[in-house]
């Protein structure tokens, strides 16, 4: 079969049609095309991230006077944060509780992610969905559900009393830091699990074979190969969970007792009952700085560990 070369070329129908200057520019400059596509997202984020943060930064140097602010650009709020022990205590406590919750979650979640990555061969997607499903229900209700479990007449206490392990309900379960840590760990499990799972799943199976081939047993294989290779996922999961939980206040408000108040509660109060927005802004900025410092320290620790492990 021979095709007639003389047939008018159909793709050329529009060829040679004049092109306007902007189009020509776009066709020639890929970066420009990319930036135009990125522009909506960047503009929205720019307006909603940079401007509010700048305002918050500015306001943190103001002072609340009655119902008004004085834009007197003083360090008063920061000096108060530095000098009054309540702020540092709550900040440190928040960091500590978030760390505890994150650590608990990562430790609990890692074996599950490992199981999914290496021992589930069929219906992985279904497993992942079943794991993430609880997180489709209202966060508030999930927090509340823990009150049912941890409460005075809750599941744990009733159960333990039923089997005679305890004579009267354990009080430390609810309205305590323990309760906040447990609830946070449960609430954020999926956030920590997914990145860890992904990093485990990415590990090339031949690397495992190679390490087995080089004579490492299962335990050393885990510590010398799997764990280091999944570290990016662990770090991502840690950050994804740690940072938002530092600022959490709902959980502390619902299941925490007097000793479980967090910095988030304090910030929220500045914008509510206490009605001192400049102080709230200063606290928010302080919190971000503290999180940044802790995050950098964590990264530094990880780097040091990596070097040491070599």
């Amino acid at each position: 079969m021979r095709m007639a070369v003389t047939t008018p070329n159909e793709t050329a129908l529009a060829a040679g049609r004049g092109q306007s200057a902007p189009r020509w520019l776009l066709a020639r400059h890929e970066g420009l095309r990319g930036l135009i596509l990125l522009a909506p997202a960047l503009v929205i984020l720019g307006i909603t991230v940079i401007v509010p943060f700048a305002m918050m930064g500015a306001m943190s140097f103001w002072t609340q006077v009655g119902f008004d602010y004085a834009d007197d650009w003083s360090l008063r709020n920061y000096i108060e944060i530095a000098s009054e022990p309540i702020y540092s205590t709550l900040l440190l406590r928040s960091l500590g509780m978030a760390m505890a919750a994150t650590l608990l979650t990562v430790v609990l979640v890692y074996p599950m992610a490992y199981f999914l990555a290496f021992h589930v061969h069929r219906n992985k997607l279904l497993w992942l969905i079943i794991i993430t499903l609880p997180f489709w229900t209202s966060y508030l209700l999930r927090v509340f559900a823990w009150r049912v479990v941890l409460g005075f007449e809750g599941v744990i206490n009733t159960g333990l009393m039923e089997i005679g392990l305890i004579a009267e309900p354990l009080k430390f379960l609810l309205y305590s830091r323990t309760a906040v840590v447990i609830t946070l760990a449960h609430a954020w499990a999926a956030f920590a699990l997914l990145p860890i799972y992904v990093s485990l799943e990415k590990i090339d199976r031949s690397v495992l074979e190679a390490s087995a081939d080089l004579g490492e047993g299962p335990v050393m294989r885990f510590f010398r190969v799997i764990l280091p290779l999944s570290m990016p996922g662990v770090i991502a999961g840690t950050f994804l969970m740690f940072i938002p939980t530092v600022g959490d206040y709902v959980t502390a408000a619902l299941v925490g007792g007097p000793d479980a108040r967090m910095i988030g509660n304090l910030i929220q109060l500045q914008f509510g009952t206490i009605n001192n927005w400049p102080m709230g802004a200063a606290l928010a900025i302080t919190m971000i700085l503290a999180i940044t410092v802790v995050g950098l320290m964590f990264l530094g620790l990880m780097l040091a560990l990596k070097r040491w492990a070599r």
């Binding site: 709550l90 005075f152 309900p169 009080k171 007792g257 007097p258 000793d259 109060l269 009605n275």
Partner: protein
């Protein structure tokens, strides 16, 4: 469910993306568009917005309004009135908001409110005058009032009669009883706690602004903190904990005791010998109320007999309409710690005195620190 149907259809004809796109728009963009459009269309028939505690958004309290306009007014919910004020100050606009009598002077300083013309309220003649005739409610109000009273009651102690071993008379000491360390519940609202603690500390309300008063009140609250299981504004949690026996006593308002009694939990709303904290709350109108006519209808519904019967019978709070009391016999009223003559109750206790914003800020900051253990 349409979204799912669309998803299924898309799968069947793998290339029918146009339908898929249409469904996306239906789910996403269209509601936004449509919510913008009826927003304007609805403006003329806009409902009044009521900014109040959760629980005051039930149809029973707005029967007249529903009868007249077919639907409930719109609601916004705050945890404490002070939170509500902060939101109003940040530009949030509602027609009505639900503070208490003592807040009027301070709230008026924000310039966010307008006086209410009581002549527009047909139920106003039935409102017990003692509940609203206060100088700061009338001054500069052009013959009207700043706040239309609605509910009144006490902040006191609800305790489990079966679990709490009462020695002697009922007293604020119940909440400071070391025998029950870890089983005491407290409200987190400074506007209640601070005044109650003043009663406990023996600070006269007239002196509450002094440094000495701050010290004395702080001291009793700090002393109490180790005994406290939880500080919360959330009465649901307090009730739950009282019902389960986790708490034996808690600082509450009237409704907790009434509701627990309905559930056959053995509790009593204490009448402390030092006197309870008593209060009258009601509604103020925003200066820029978007639907003032409807707001008047809401107010009129709130002070009606039917609303009053529900408020007292189901929540146990006192109402302002004298005729609403007719539905209850004296025994019931007494059980509810209410009276046809509110001043019997209100004057037996202590009523807070209006304070300036600086005091309020200092009090709330101090109280927050005490709760946090400082």
């Amino acid at each position: 469910m349409d979204a799912i149907k669309q998803l299924a259809a898309r799968k069947r004809h793998a290339l029918n993306r146009r339908a898929f796109v249409r469904s996306l728009m239906a789910v996403g963009l269209v509601p936004v568009m449509s919510s913008a459009l009826p927003g304007k269309a609805r403006a003329s028939t806009r409902h009044a917005t009521v900014f109040t505690w959760g629980g005051f958004d039930v149809p029973e309290l707005y029967q007249d309004y529903v009868d007249a306009h077919g639907e409930l007014p719109d609601f916004a919910i705050f945890g404490a009135p002070e939170d509500g004020l902060t939101r109003l100050r940040s530009g949030f606009v509602t027609d009505l908001i639900h503070p208490c009598m003592g807040d009027i002077p301070r709230w008026r300083q924000t310039g966010l409110f307008q006086p209410i013309d009581t002549s527009r309220l047909s139920n106003w003649p039935d409102v017990i005058p003692g509940l609203w005739e206060e100088p700061h409610n009338l001054e500069d109000a052009d013959g009207g009032v700043w706040l239309v009273p609605f509910d009144w009651g006490q902040t006191s102690i609800t305790y489990r009669t079966d679990l709490y071993d009462l020695e002697g008379e009922e007293s604020w000491d119940i909440l400071w009883d070391e025998r029950y360390a870890g089983r005491i519940g407290m409200l987190a609202t400074g506007d209640d706690v601070w005044w109650c603690a003043a009663i406990k500390a023996g600070v006269p309300f007239e002196e509450i602004h002094t440094d000495e008063a701050f010290e004395a009140i702080s001291a009793v609250l700090r002393e109490q903190r180790p005994l406290v299981r939880t500080y919360t504004d959330d009465t649901s949690s307090l009730n739950q904990a009282l019902a389960s026996g986790e708490l034996v006593a808690a600082m509450t308002w009237n409704s907790s005791a009434v509701e627990l009694t309905f559930e056959e939990v053995p509790v009593r709303f204490a009448q402390p010998k030092e006197g309870a904290l008593t209060w009258v709350c009601g509604f103020m109108m925003h200066r820029d109320a978007p639907a003032p006519d409807r707001a008047y209808d809401v107010l009129n519904a709130l002070i009606s007999v039917s609303a009053g019967e529900f408020l007292m019978g189901d929540y146990g709070y006192g109402h302002v309409n004298i005729r609403a009391f007719d539905a209850f016999d004296d025994e019931t009223l007494e059980a509810l710690t209410l009276s046809r003559n509110p001043s019997d109750i209100l004057d037996a206790g202590h009523r807070s005195i209006p304070q300036p914003p600086e005091w309020s800020a200092r009090m709330n900051t101090t109280w927050e620190r005490i709760m946090a253990g400082f």
